[in-house]
């Protein structure tokens, strides 16, 4: 009897995944991203980081694409493909760290603002307004000029400039959930504020948060490349798409593939994150439930 009435049970995550799979473009983006991540993770199997990606090898400089160097070599004689793959490591790491940092701080602030409201909300939101009024990149440059340019500080700088966006998004999501009756019901069974905020409220705001998270990673990757391009980010010889572009700039006429390589890598990665974000938004919107 129990067997008969046992229906197909689907968790929320599975439902979202099922709907996400239907979105061809988002799936393609996911595949591209998976390839990039996989390449970054397995790079050590094909190259030696120090010798191939960092050490200067002047006799080999500015080689055209060949069997040995698929994408040619740069002005220091280093293999371009190797540097692009290792560059993905820096970009992805900073992108994910910076966004996660911004999400944790901004999310917590936004949740508290949205749930409690009142004066605290006012104070925190005015502070984020101040933060928002400073252009993000400028803020990151200002912070970077005070610290050593390593991955930790770059993540921090790029994260701080994104906190206010997360605060706003989480706050507005919390505001709508807070008014729902099940929150009152949770209070009526004696749940603590902390439990209510983190379990009942935030878990119901996951859709916009996830979407923003995916989009923000793309934006942070672009920012880290920008920082590196102007020399405030990841420093040569550590490979990064930004500083590679900066180095290849001088040869854009004779050797355009030197700019195209890291440029296309950036384009693919950022588009992948944006498309995944869009796909998630569609998959998580219950109104599109079929």
């Amino acid at each position: 009897m129990q067997e008969h009435i046992k229906k197909k049970k689907e968790s929320q995550a599975r439902q979202i995944w099922r709907r996400f799979k239907k979105n061809k473009i988002a799936m393609a983006a996911l595949v591209v991203l998976a390839i990039i991540v996989l390449a970054a993770l397995t790079a050590d199997l094909f190259w030696d980081y120090q010798a191939d990606a960092c050490d200067i090898n002047i006799p080999m400089r500015l080689q055209k694409p060949s069997k040995e160097h698929w994408l040619g070599t740069d002005e220091m004689g280093r293999d371009m493909l190797c540097r692009i793959v290792y560059g993905a490591r820096a970009s992805l790491t900073v992108g994910i760290f910076a966004t996660t940092f911004a999400l944790i701080i901004g999310g917590a602030l936004g949740a508290v603002c949205g749930y409690y409201g009142g004066r605290l909300d006012n104070i925190i939101m005015r502070c984020t307004d101040v933060l928002l009024s400073i252009p993000g990149l400028l803020l990151a440059i200002a912070i970077m000029s005070a610290f050593k340019p390593n991955i930790f500080y770059i993540s921090l700088a790029l994260g701080i400039s994104y906190i206010s966006k997360f605060t706003r998004i989480v706050r507005s999501a919390v505001l709508t959930v807070r008014e729902q009756e099940f929150i009152e019901a949770a209070r009526a069974i004696g749940a603590k504020d902390r439990t209510i905020i983190f379990k009942h409220v935030l878990m119901n705001c996951m859709a916009p948060i996830f979407v923003q998270y995916a989009l923000a990673i793309g934006s942070r990757i672009l920012s880290v490349s920008t920082l590196s391009y102007i020399g405030m980010g990841i420093q040569s010889p550590t490979p990064d798409w930004g500083n590679m572009l900066s180095g290849a700039r001088a040869f854009i006429v004779g050797r355009p593939y030197l700019v195209l390589g890291p440029g296309i890598a950036l384009l693919l990665t950022i588009s992948a994150f944006n498309l995944i974000g869009d796909g998630l938004r569609d998959a998580m919107d219950p109104r599109l439930k079929k």
């Binding site: 129990q2 009756e181 069974i189 004696g190 749940a191 009942h200 996951m206």
Partner: protein, 341 residues
Amino acid sequence: MGINTNLMLEIKDLVVEYRTEDEIVQAVNDITLWIEKGKSLGLVGETGAGKTTTALSILNLLPETTGFIKHGTITLDGDPIIRMDEKGNSVAAMDDSDMQKVRGKKVAMIFQDPMTALNPIFTVGYQIAESVKLHQKCSSQEAEKRAEEMLELVGIPAGRKDDYPHQFSGGMKQRVVIAMALACNPSLLIADEPTTALDVTVQAQVLEMIKDLREKFGTSVLMITHDLGIIAEMCDEVSVMYAGSIVEHGNLEDIFDKTRHPYTQGLFNSLPNINNRMSRLKPIRGLTPDPANLPMGCAFADRCDYVTERCRFEKPVKKWLSDSHFVACHLYEDGKDESKL
């Protein structure tokens, strides 16, 4: 009345205000009510009469920035929840963490709309188990087992505990809400229009269930409704609320057979009569007064067929007609228990 140790809930002279930037709304206006242990009280009244506000006051869950208890005391099973301080203001008698222990454990509330009272992203079993875990020291397995028991008790197969709220129908959801409310064996159950959002056939089932469970566990019930039929079915005593005040109170017989207040009379006249299908319904004319701007005298004066000059500038006081029955109406000033309607 003195201290009666047999009272589950005692609300005395309660005044609740909602303050917004441009007006003060008197939602509850000096009400007194009590429920004996194991009994059930029906609170009847129109939309906006202050029924839900009264219920939320008991849990001290009024909206923090706008709702204020201005006056009065609330005592639950001998423990004060709202008390008066030396200056004559009402203050919460418990701190937040003590109050959280009362909510759900001693007093549980069934909300009006089961569609929104359950969190859509957790399974129903999990949500029932959560309320158990909040109040009883027990392992997750025990809590889950209790959740299964509760589901069976309200007539849902325990196998459905891993389903999400959207997989249930409205009536089933209300059963889940009831299971959640009863999971910790509360001494007082507040049912805030538990059947308003359900269709009629399901209403009967849910009410029957609440009744059974009440008898089984000896829970006291505060039944908030605007349906006199439910009152007749479920309650021992009735308080009729109008514009934030209780205008008539009595046991079932007092209210249904010896109706005294013109407003209560009006409520009965608005119901179709099954014995005389040709008779026209007689609605109460007019609207409830704006609670931000209550009249000086009796709040019902403008709608009352028996209004006198006195009603307009003097508030009627409670008049006990018998041990169980009181009415607040100038018609009964002489204290004689005979209908003037």
